[in-house]
Every structure is written in C-alpha cells, then in structure tokens.
Symmetry: C2
Subunit: 283 residues, 2 copies
C-alpha cells in the first residue's frame, strides 16, 4: 500500500528512535495550549467520522479494528487521555480495558490470557490502559527476569502483535512521557485534593524511586518491540493539551491510512425505497 506523504506527519515525528523528546516539548504540531485545544475540536470531528466508518465496516462484515496501547509512569495521563481523546467518539465503538496488578486467578494463567479477553472486536477501537507490556516492565525492574527470559518474552510479545496484525487489528503503542518533576506535582495534587485521593497509591512512590530503572526498561522495550506493524510512539506528556492533541492525531493518521469504508448494502436500496413508499402508516 502506498503511504500518503502527508498522512504520517505526526507518526513520523513521534515514532521512537534514539533519544526521547523532552516531556515538555512539542516536536510536531501546536506549541501553545490555545491552539492545541482549538485543533483538538477539529480532530474530534475527523476522529468521530473515521471511527463511525470503521464501526460500519465491522457491522458489514469487515474484520479490522484498532488497538491503542497506553503506557507510562503513574500520573502520566493514561486515564486523562481516555477521557479527552476517546471521549470524542461514540462509546458504541470503544472498548476500554484497564490492567492492574494481576489477580491471583489471573496469575495462574499465562500473562496474555487476560489480555486476549479484552481485545477489540471488528470495527472497534480498543484502548488498553496499561497492557501486556507491564508483564515485562515490572518483572524486569524487580530483577525477576534473566536476559534469556527477557529475550524470550520480547519474542513472544512481537509474535502476539504480529498475530493481531494478521487478524486485522492495527496496534498503536503510545508511551506517555512525563518528567519526574511533573509527576511530583501531580502526585501532590492527588494528595491535597480530597476528590483525587482515590487515584493515589502509596506504591506509586516505590515505582518513582526506581525512575531510572523504569526509563531503562522502557528504552529496552522500544528497541525490542517497536516493529514496522506495531511501532511505539513517545508522546511528550507534561502538557495535557499537547498529549491529547498528539494521541488524537496518531489515531486519526492510523485510521485514515486504514481508510475504513461504509459497507455496500447487501440489499437493493432502490427496491427497498420503493417498498417503503408503498407502505402506509401501521395503525
């Protein structure tokens, strides 16, 4: 398939490769809040239209779907992205799944078991708030995986995503990249605001204390699992307005390339219209 030159501007700019962009930067697109919010409005309309076409294609028997994978440190804005970006489209076509620490029941299964149960159906946009990548991230930082075990798991993750691609699911992997300074501010805000306290978890401080190890683990993940069919994007996320705009655009470019099509009716529209005209109003 020929890639349109102008259809991957944001993907090209944010695709991981070498150094990550500064968490407070705007490597592509609007650099100011007002402009970003304004553009997000327009993005909402395009995203909605593309999502509706994908959904319709699914109803018509198409098998394609999109899976947005959101990863990032605590407070990086995974939930906010779901609310502000996926909130722009029809909830009928969105399937959200959050993955917390595996339950004892989940731990008795292969780590992909719970993941597979939440995959998007044809026509849907699936969203993973944390994902199968937690299953290499956390054990790695905890020192529980040897080198050979890590390599085996990377190969397994790539094979899994290859399988998804074959099944018609386009995977868009996004790392929400915040700075430790911004995280500190957000953690404080969660503690001092009573309606935000439920979002805070004392374990967040443990993870924070291993900041460098997590960044290393992510760098390794990007190196090993950013593939042609399922690439990683690093979205600077210190500014919520930039993060929302960027994720919306990544989805739009991905969907636009898929170019979902409203299905051809499997009935004769003119004949149905004629029948309808002959139909009275039932009493």
């Amino acid at each position: 398939m020929v890639k349109k030159d102008d259809g991957s501007r944001v993907r090209d700019a944010l695709r991981v490769g070498g150094e990550l962009p500064d968490p407070g930067s705007a490597p592509v697109g609007p650099g100011k809040k007002a402009k970003a919010l304004d553009r997000l409005g327009g993005a909402g309309e395009r995203l909605s239209a593309l999502q509706e076409a994908l959904y319709a294609e699914g109803v018509g028997g198409g098998r394609r779907s999109v899976l947005l994978v959101l990863q990032g440190m605590d407070t990086s804005g995974k939930g906010g992205t779901v609310s502000h970006v996926l909130g722009l489209v029809n909830p009928m076509g969105v399937r959200y799944a959050g993955f917390k620490k595996p339950t004892p029941a989940e731990q008795r299964h292969h780590y992909l078991w719970r993941i597979r149960k939440q995959l998007p159906a044809p026509g849907q946009i699936g969203v993973f708030d944390r994902s199968h990548y937690e299953d290499i991230l956390v054990p790695r930082v905890s020192g529980l995986l040897t080198g050979p075990e890590r390599r085996r798991r990377y190969a397994e993750l790539n094979a899994f995503e290859e399988e998804l691609a074959e099944a018609g699911t386009t995977v868009v992997k996004v790392f929400l990249h915040i700075s430790p300074e911004e995280q500190l501010k957000r953690l404080k805000a969660r503690l001092v605001t009573p309606e935000k306290r439920w979002k805070y978890n004392p374990g967040d401080l443990d993870a924070r204390s291993h900041w460098a190890a997590y960044q290393d683990a992510y760098a390794d993940i990007f190196k090993r699992t950013s593939t042609e069919r399922a690439p990683w994007y690093a979205v600077p996320a210190d500014h919520k307005w930039y993060r929302n705009w960027a994720v919306a655009e990544l989805l739009i470019e991905t969907l636009a390339e898929l170019a979902p099509r409203f299905p051809e009716p499997d009935y004769d529209a003119d004949a149905e219209l004629a029948k309808l005209k002959g139909v009275g109003v039932p009493s």
Copy 2:
C-alpha cells in the same frame, strides 16, 4: 432511604403507567430544541461528575453500578442515545453491549447467558442496546410463546433483575417511544443517504408491519416487569433533542439518588504528603 422530593421529577413523569405519552410530546422538561440542547450541556457536567464518583467508589471497593437498558422499535434512537448521552462521560466508566439476533452458539445457551457476560462491573455504567427483553418481545410477536410460557419468562426476568439489584446494580429501563410516521421518515433517510445505508436492514420492514403487535407486547412487558427496583420509563423519542435530554436526566436522577462517594483513602494522606516533600527528583 428517604427519596428527595426534587430528585425524581423526570423519573416520576416518565415512569410507565397507563397510556404512553405522545412520541412527539415533552411531558416534563424543555419543550423546545434550543432549550433542550442548552440543558443537555449542563446535564453533561453533572452526569460526568456523578459517573466519576461512581467509578471512584468502585475502585475503592464499592460494588454498585448502573445498567441502562435501551429498547425501542428500529430507528427509535438507541444508538444515537448512546452517542449523545453516554458520550458525555468518561469512556473508562462505560460498558456498552449491543444485542442482535442471537448467534447459533448463543442459541444453544439459556437466553440470559450472553446477557450475564456483559453486565457492568462495580463502578461502571453499563448500556444495553437491546437486551434480555428481546427474548420475550420477538418470540411473543412471532406467536412462539404460550401464555404460561410467557408468564414463566416474565417471572424469570423479574427474578434476574431482582438478583442484579441485590448485587448492587441499579437497572434503568428505557423505552424509546417513536411514532410510525417518524420511523418511516428515518427509514427513508437511511436508504437515501449512502453513509447511512449500513444501518438499514430489510427485516426492519417486517417488524414495522407488526407495529401494533409490538406495541401490545411492550404494553404487556411494562405491566409485568416494571417493578419498584427496576422500573420502565417511556421516553418520547420523535424529537432527538428531547430523547437525549430525558435519558440524561433519568441517569442523573438515578445516580444522584445513589449518591456515590469518593472512597476514603486506605493510607494516611498527611504521611504520604510528608514523604513526597522529602522526596527529591530521581536522576
């Protein structure tokens, strides 16, 4: 629990009982489009705030949830309601399920089997686009259920919903009431607009030709299954702006009565704040 006098105005007005309101009427609330759209904006904010509190309550161990059941003739606006009303809140807290004609695999199970798999988790707002009521509606209109079989199924549906209530799920059952004249217009619009043709199904005309039988079946359903804990509401749905406003208000009143609460933290917020202040920025 004492019901607040002003907290069930819309529910009281739209609760089924006797004659259904005219599909083009506005028995309660705004009678004009501009006012309804304006009020829907405000409703969105209230609904969002209540939904967030319910979600937070669920994260904190609460078990309560809400299940919106949408029923109505073809084109009555079930999908539009999902888009315009549930689209107002965070997709993280919404679980949508559409029920079409049961598949052969589903038909081998009890009809509640596929329904149970889609129930909302604690903290969620579930939405059923068609529901377990199709399983009495369609066989009844097709003449496949004898009187005793119908009565047994009503008892079964009531027992199922009683079980949901015991489990913490508040069921809100909404009949989107359109007129056959309005349906005719909407069916025509689906046929003449290429991007809407996928929504049309030749079977819609068969169902339309049994209009009176469906209305009778619904009347019977309301009589048999509108219970104190899981009442039916009839929402006039010829005007989309009225339908959206009314369903939003029904959800708001229901959630406001539940009065979901942000959970108390299971940690010492002051101690955590002190720890955070001592924490530097990780290198």
